[in-house]
């Protein structure tokens, strides 16, 4: 499993895609400022946020929902890329590495997508740090590596 970050963005219409991203997040400045290869873009989508309302950590595994899959073509580049990467369960950290965007940014964008119902994340009933059985299984697993 090594999802690649899509690079051919020329065919994509930034304005149209941004419309969708606007419905996810607070109003953005005019989309004219966006260049397809602007390294600042992911930061632009986060609007400077480094936190999200969603409870997600760097290692949280996310996966695209059906809604996310069908919305994907209409999403802003990075959001579309994330939903595509998440067609198989993938961690926020791996999304960040695959897309070469800072992990804090990946986390915010994943949070937006979860809020929008485009990504799912499994929430354990017991925090892993308190889950005796889970840690025992982990120990057995590491022992047999």
């Amino acid at each position: 499993m090594s999802p690649r970050f899509r690079t051919d963005r020329a065919a994509l219409d930034g304005r149209e895609r941004l419309l969708e991203s606007r419905s996810l997040t607070p109003p953005a400045p005019p989309c004219d400022v966006l260049e397809d290869d602007d390294p600042v873009r992911p930061f632009f989508l986060t609007r400077g946020r480094t936190r999200t309302d969603q409870d997600i950590a760097f290692e949280t595994i996310v996966s695209a929902t059906d809604a996310g899959r069908s919305a994907s073509p209409r999403l802003a580049f990075e959001l579309a890329d994330i939903t595509r990467l998440a067609s198989e369960p993938v961690s926020v950290a791996e999304i960040s590495a695959a897309m070469k965007i800072p992990i804090t940014v990946a986390r915010v964008l994943c949070g937006d997508l979860i809020t929008a119902g485009y990504l799912d994340r499994s929430i354990p009933l017991v925090a892993p740090t308190d889950d005796v059985e889970l840690i025992k299984r982990l120990i057995d697993g590491v022992r047999s590596l």
Partner: protein, 184 residues
Amino acid sequence: MKIVVAGGFGVGKTTMVGAISEIPPLTTEAAMTSLGAEIDDRGDVTTKTTTTVAMDFGRVTIDRSIILYIFGTPGQDRFGFMWDDLITGALGAIVLVDTRRIDDCFPAVDYFEHRDLPFVVAVNRFDGRLAHELDDIREALDLSPEVPIVTTDARAKDAVKDTVLVLLDQALARAMVRSRAPGR
């Protein structure tokens, strides 16, 4: 699930992550807004500075429902904000030490001592003999008795596995105490 490998510059964090990971360590960046107390010309305090640090991580798939991520922290000690983010939900941390530069791990030890997080001090042998005995290192770091200190070889999978297991035992002990605690 997640554990963290911390320690000074060049102490072998990335090497350790790579030794146990099923994939070559992946690198990611963390952009951080830190609060700096800089006073500008007008006497106003400008508070925001954004710094970017590289961080690497590896992955071990245990079974369908358990994937262990191992994060190597940036070596700097002034990135406290990101460390807080990083250790959220972590089972524990390994503080890697180079005996030739013991002081370098102080910030990490100090940090974890003030968090409710199991950690293990692992002395990377770097082939050679230890420049100091473990007990001397324990004393130099002023470690509390419940913090294990072990030797390891960041390049060797088995040694790293053992170190991780020492940490996971600590994590298990803590989970057992917590799950027995009333009101949880």
